[in-house]
């Protein structure tokens, strides 16, 4: 359903140096699939997500959704940002309701939906606070709620649980899976946790750095619902898969380290 071919993106900085973030990347994501994306820091995950979101102009290649090339951002897609990108002047509820407001949802309805999601995120009682008055993890959850509120067909999540504690993370993972099973959006989910990648994903995409492209796609053939009820992986069910990912990523990491001893390409 999302088809990416030969995607390349090079950034030119103020001194004219270039960094190639994506180089001939290709990736297909099936309709309703939950794809998780793993890769070394700085390999181009955020850039890839922003390209799909239609936020970053790319140099070459194509991105098609349902066979149509994307033309900038669209209401079919919503993104959770790595740096949260909350509006500092808007309260928690207003931030969560932001996407709904842009879509013309009436005030009462959007407030109600926002309040529900705020509660789901464990932020009940903080509805009227400003982002500056929240802890890092709380801010991140506001950003997640904002994306969920618009019920997009494609949900692009950039390390959405990076700043919350494990318990909250488990709860949020469950909420996300429940929502996914109910609404069946296509999800591209960037994470640094291999465990999380395996727990959530239908497939895990491994990205390599320089050239930034999807190096491998690992199917996760485990039945759903998975590991509901939380707790660390005491049974060792996922250990094998996680270990495989670990080894693959370490290989890539080491290659990358040796490649990178010069200046960035």
């Amino acid at each position: 359903m999302i088809e990416i071919h030969g995607l390349s993106k090079t950034f030119t900085d103020r001194r004219g140096d270039t960094v190639t973030a994506l180089d001939d990347a290709r990736l297909d994501v099936a309709e309703n699939e939950f794809l998780t994306l793993l890769g070394p820091s700085g390999c181009g995950k955020t850039t890839l997500l922003k390209c799909i979101a239609g936020l970053v102009p790319y140099d070459s290649g194509t991105i098609e959704i349902d066979g149509r090339p994307i033309q900038g951002p669209g209401p079919d897609r919503a993104m959770v940002f790595q740096n949260f990108a909350l509006l500092p002047w808007a309260s928690v509820v207003d931030n969560v309701a932001f996407g709904l407001r842009l879509r013309g949802v009436a005030r009462a309805e959007r407030e109600e939906r926002a309040r529900e999601l705020v509660a789901t995120m464990g932020l009940a009682g903080f509805e009227k606070k400003l982002p500056g008055e929240l802890s890092g993890g709380m801010q991140q959850r506001v950003g997640i709620a904002r994306a969920l509120a618009v019920q997009p067909q494609v949900l692009l999540m950039d390390e959405p649980f990076g700043a919350v504690d494990e318990q909250t993370r488990r709860l949020l993972q469950e909420e996300l899976l429940a929502l996914w099973e109910e609404q069946r959006p296509t999800v591209v989910f960037v994470t640094h946790s291999m465990e999380e990648a395996v727990l959530l994903g239908d497939r895990v995409a491994l990205m390599s750095a320089r050239p930034g492209r999807v190096a491998e796609l690992v199917p996760v053939d485990l039945p759903r619902p998975r590991a509901r009820g939380g707790g660390p992986d005491r049974s060792g069910v996922y250990a094998e898969l996680t270990a495989y990912l670990w080894d693959r990523l370490r290989e890539m990491h080491e290659e990358h380290r040796t490649v990178r001893t010069g200046a960035p390409a």
């Binding site: 900085d13 103020r14 239609g54 936020l55 970053v56 102009p57 790319y58 140099d59 070459s60 290649g61 090339p69 994307i70 033309q71 900038g72 951002p73």
Partner: protein, 262 residues
């Protein structure tokens, strides 16, 4: 280069419109004091060949350079101080407002009594004219600096002076430079006004002379030349600004970039 080329057609278009509107209006309604566009253009050319003009510019610009330098040297630190210290600001604010609104024309005689007639009072007036813009915008710039950066600096043992130079000043720089541009505009105005109303040496004297003689084309030519100088100075400030605040473009870009491959 490409940016320059992209802007050029719009600039040419608006300039043509502007020139046509001027010329047509002057023909329809112009009198002794409203020359046509082309007349003015010719007079500008002629005036540029006059040594008298260059002498006048030289005289006027002494006050401009000195006065504006003082405005920057005092205004930027003062603005940052006011942005940083709430109590100080609350007491100084009302005076800043007074400085902003006092019609300078009315205080010129006072100034003459105080500093005499000459470069000192012309310089002082240029400073008084321009400093408010610099202060107010520097202060607004400080307000925009992310407080967590100050926290960070303090955690590394930065003292107040270092917070100023290493965090507040660079962080406020984009806004400060806006103030510099506004201030530069005011400084040029001050330079001319003081000469129109008080010490009519320099270009202000030229304006008075041409106006008194009802010589409209050279009158407007003088004004055009003053404006050209101001635009030159403002472009120079822009250039400095771009060099000094290139970082702000990595966090702030313009619209119209999005979408499909270019």
């Amino acid at each position: 280069m490409t940016r320059l080329n992209a802007r050029l057609p719009y600039q040419i278009l608006t300039f043509a419109l502007f020139a046509a509107a001027w010329e047509l209006y002057a023909r329809a309604r112009g009198g002794l004091l409203l020359p046509g566009f082309f007349e003015t253009l010719r007079a500008t050319g002629a005036l540029l060949a006059e040594p008298e003009l260059w002498r006048a510019l030289y005289v006027s610009n002494q006050a401009l350079v000195l006065g504006f330098a003082i405005a920057l040297a005092l205004g930027i630190p003062l603005g940052i101080l006011l942005g940083r210290f709430r109590t100080l600001e609350r007491y100084a604010d009302v005076w800043l407002n007074i400085l902003l609104v006092t019609p300078m024309a009315a205080i010129i005689p006072l100034l003459v009594m105080w500093t005499g007639i000459g470069l000192t009072s012309r310089t002082a007036l240029v400073t008084v004219f321009s400093i408010v813009m610099v202060i107010v915008n520097s202060r607004a710039g400080v307000r925009q600096v992310d407080p967590s950066l100050i926290e960070m600096a303090r955690s590394f043992g930065a003292r107040e002076r270092e917070i100023f130079t290493r965090v507040l000043l660079p962080g406020a720089l984009p806004a400060v430079m806006t103030g510099v541009r506004l201030g530069l505009g005011r400084a040029v105005t001050g330079m001319v006004i003081v000469e129109l109303l008080m010490i009519s040496d320099g270009v202000g004297g030229l304006i008075l002379e041409y106006r008194g003689l009802l010589k409209a084309p050279p009158l407007y030519a003088t004004i055009v030349i003053i404006l050209a100088e101001a635009l030159l100075l403002i472009s120079a400030a822009r250039w400095c600004e771009r060099r000094l605040t290139h970082w702000s473009r990595t966090t702030a870009t313009r619209a119209n970039l999005a979408g499909s491959p270019k």
